[in-house]
Symmetry: C2
């Protein structure tokens, strides 16, 4: 019923397959003028396919629907000319891997470092990122979490506007760039976690709806119509994302996936997409004799995501716990805006420290509803914590990192709280030396109306702040450049000291000095007046 879609190269023959159940004809056409378009054949479930001769890696193609308009392949593995143009055939087997001795890192031992390829280095490429791996080794990092790399519009984007889940962003160095990066990481004993977005598609260059019912009007999300995970034809949409996940793990040697906003993957069916995803990966684990992580971003505080299958859970390995971040941030900065109004007491931090979720069935004033259930059955390694990440920084109007908000001493205290905590810590790139440039929100849309709409939307969102500062223009190249790491911390004594401090705490953590906190029932003593939390 389900077919693998995309362009599957085998020697010089290529199998083109695409799902378009309501179309009357689908042809594949090629950029090369001497290469004639070929008519695909439809099966009963709406998959169109045909094997075509004389194709090689790099051959540019697109699909013509109903003989009228050409569109890129939804399962394109390369968009060398951007989101609106030709797809390119990729030879998945021509990369020679050098990571055969790589053995992975256990979930509980991870020290994660989140990076955005575009702003991690001046060059903004995988190749340049590889040159920074020794810095991360020196710091003590053993896992890198890469913000989404699926092809997005333009060359400047956080990655959450991706529209080709199977294609690696051309400006980052494409698929081969990513493979080379993962290979290099593994050779330095660093795991790679990839951030993938299965809850929405970006607003520009998204042609999925031309092909089939990838979206459903039953549910709406902050990005419009929801992806179709439980309506008619959803088996095919689920398969599209499932196969994508398996591709990263199998073909790109990725060690784990971070699933963006799983609360917006709305699947009301008897077999939830997340469980099916985890079970598909279980099978791949057996085949490859490897362990792959699935880490969820979830605002639900619902342990069902983590519970084992026999307890009705989806069996994911871990999830981010925003409560921990918010509890630390609200105490450290005194901020009370937006969601921080739900935090700010030592008691919140104590609860976060003790069990991960603060909202475990409690009423949230900000969300105006009861949120969460009890995480007490979960080992502490099931929660990822941070004191800043791309969202918490970049969703501020000016994109200030924590280093720009609190004193140096407070900065160290925050880092300490995270690194001695029972949870898996995650740093955001530059955090280890207190990078003082911001990480701002940036886009690079080809559609100027869209760019203006984003600009206006953000401007409106920040109006309540009544800030005297001007909101950086998301579309402007300076905003992007300004967000790049500066890497000049060796010239700043305080930044150097902070790096050494992080290095030291990480090394103590690795030696197991804080594992005393990893027990099931942590004792916390709260002194609200003195703003003191004692843990034992």
């Amino acid at each position: 019923m389900i077919k693998a879609t995309g362009a599957e190269l085998s020697g010089h023959r290529c199998q083109f397959t695409v799902w378009a159940p309501f179309r009357k004809s689908v042809d594949v056409e090629f950029e090369a003028p001497d290469h004639k378009a070929v008519h695909l054949e439809k099966d009963k479930y709406g998959y169109w396919s045909k094997e075509v001769a004389n194709i090689m890696a790099g051959t540019k193609y697109r699909f013509i629907l109903d003989g009228i308009k050409p569109y890129p392949d939804p399962a394109s593995k390369a968009q060398p000319d951007g989101v609106h143009s030709w797809s390119a055939v990729v030879d998945e087997h021509n990369y020679v891997w050098g990571d055969s001795t790589w053995n992975g890192v256990a979930l509980k031992d991870l020290i994660i470092y989140e990076i955005h390829i575009g702003t991690f280095t001046d060059e903004g490429t995988f190749e340049a990122a590889i040159l920074k791996l020794d810095h991360l080794l020196e710091l003590g990092i053993n896992a890198i979490e890469v913000m989404p790399v699926a092809q997005f519009p333009g060359s400047r984007n956080w990655g959450y506007d991706g529209v080709y889940p199977y294609a690696v962003q051309n400006s980052y160095g494409g698929g081969t760039g990513l493979k080379t990066f993962v290979d290099a990481c593994h050779q330095k004993n660093i795991a790679v976690i990839l951030d993938v977005v299965y809850n929405h598609m970006g607003p520009e260059g998204n042609y999925l709806a031309e092909y089939g019912p990838y979206f459903t009007g039953k549910y709406s999300t902050p990005w419009g119509k929801a992806l179709n995970f439980d309506d008619a034809y959803s088996d095919h949409v689920k398969a599209y994302f499932l196969r994508n996940a398996l591709m990263w793990l199998d073909d790109y040697h990725i060690d784990g996936l971070r699933l963006d906003a799983v609360h917006s993957i709305i699947d009301h069916s008897a077999y939830h997409f997340l469980k099916e995803l985890r079970q598909s990966i279980d099978e791949l684990q057996i085949k490859n004799r490897r362990r792959y992580f699935l880490i969820a971003e979830s605002e639900l505080n619902d342990v069902r995501i983590l519970e084992p299958y026999e307890k009705g859970g989806y069996g994911l390995d871990a999830q981010w716990t925003d409560d921990f971040h918010h509890a630390v941030h609200a105490l450290a900065t005194g901020e009370k805006d937006g969601y921080y109004q739900d935090y700010g007491k030592i008691n919140h931090l104590a609860k976060a420290f003790r069990q991960g979720f603060v909202y475990d069935g409690e009423y949230s004033s900000f969300r105006k509803k009861t949120v969460g259930n009890s995480p007490q059955s979960m080992a502490s390694s099931r929660f990822i914590v941070c004191i800043q990440n791309h969202d918490q920084i970049g969703n501020r109007m000016l994109g200030e990192r924590v280093a720009g908000l609190v004193s140096f001493e407070m900065l160290k205290l925050m880092a300490g709280i995270m690194l001695v905590s029972p949870y898996v810590p995650m740093l955001f790139m530059g955090e280890e030396y207190g990078e003082n440039h911001p990480f701002q929100y940036f886009i690079h849309h080809g559609d100027s109306d869209l760019a203006e709409a984003v600009r206006k939307g953000r401007s409106k969102a920040f109006k309540a702040l009544k800030s005297k500062r001007k909101m950086p223009d998301p579309q402007a190249k300076e905003t992007y450049n300004h967000s790049k790491l500066k890497w000049n911390f060796h010239q700043h004594p305080e930044q150097r000291a902070l790096f050494t401090y992080y290095q030291y705490l990480i090394s103590l953590r690795k030696q197991g000095l804080f594992s005393v906190f990893f027990k099931r029932h942590l004792d916390t003593e709260v002194h609200e007046q003195q703003k003191l939390l004692m843990v034992r």
Copy 2:
């Protein structure tokens, strides 16, 4: 945080409470001209309340929002003049119950009989229905399932257009009528299951949105915007329905609730409404030393609804299994339209007989997606089966009962399949004697545009049938009258014989003769060619 809403009478003082978080003022006004309007006071969660003196049972009142427009009480316990008019104060404690010796019936022993109060008798009242109880006793019935009785527009409606969940339909005899009916049933050792609708509100007389965010734009259902079970303010909406459920069980002595279309109760939170409902009822059970059933109508075929809490389930007692009905119906009639296309083989029936669900993770051609998960861990008493019900009959253009579709011999075979099955059987009123009048779809809207819209909608739905027969007019009184039981089966030998046959099978079932089929692993042997199913 949550307050009980409605008018709570205590002596001659009455506490009026209503939730209207965004209103600037709420007054309660009274029909009696000498009774002055009273200003209610708001708490921080948006509940307005005030105790008012000189109120008695029957006092008519309504709420004025923002000093402008009056609306009935969303938690009104009586709408003596219909859905658009005054609410009336009810004294919940003035009924003297005579059912103190009633002990209930175990779920596995239930023989359910579904009735629609309006068409069960000529009079269409609870009072008249009581006179038929001896007939049901003679038949062997020990539980009656009453189609929804919440106040609906006009006097002719299946009940799924109800708009006052706390008020019993005035034309049926109101709250006292229902209590008298339940009391009479209990005194004859018959349990009462009430059909309640928590997934949508009817289209006429629904003023909930005037009061607060009872609906959310996040999800849409076949009835429009979904009720708000997980968005901001949802705690209050959940409480509104939870308290309603408890009212039926506690104040009306109802033995169990049949929850309409739970697949349209969309709650993505960490604490699903259905689990919260079952847990609230668990508490009531302890208080009242009684056992209450919760039975779901669900098209999801998802055992999560039935699984115990410790397996991540919602803990409901049972659910309807439409697969059983469809498997029997498709075989018996040869029909292939709509959802019947997914059935029609002996093998479907065998599977339904063996495990309840036919679609247990299989692809459905009609729904164009994979449906269900495995029910094998469930005892057979967790599934309710029928060979016809209000929906399967009334959603046909002409509302034909099975007796009007198949031969007399086939009718007996169908009844036999249901009554020897391992599941809890449910008859639809009149089925026991093969009533040959139809049960059609009827409404009685005050709004003629709405009546016309319903007419057109149904007409369009049945257009594909290309029937030469005319669709009955849902709004016409004849359609309603035509749907009433005729009760003249004693004059028809075949009908009399059928009644005796049902009586006999029910009595054998009660003697435990078919309990050989109640085991976990039933053997079925399928002979597709001979259209033969052997069970052992």
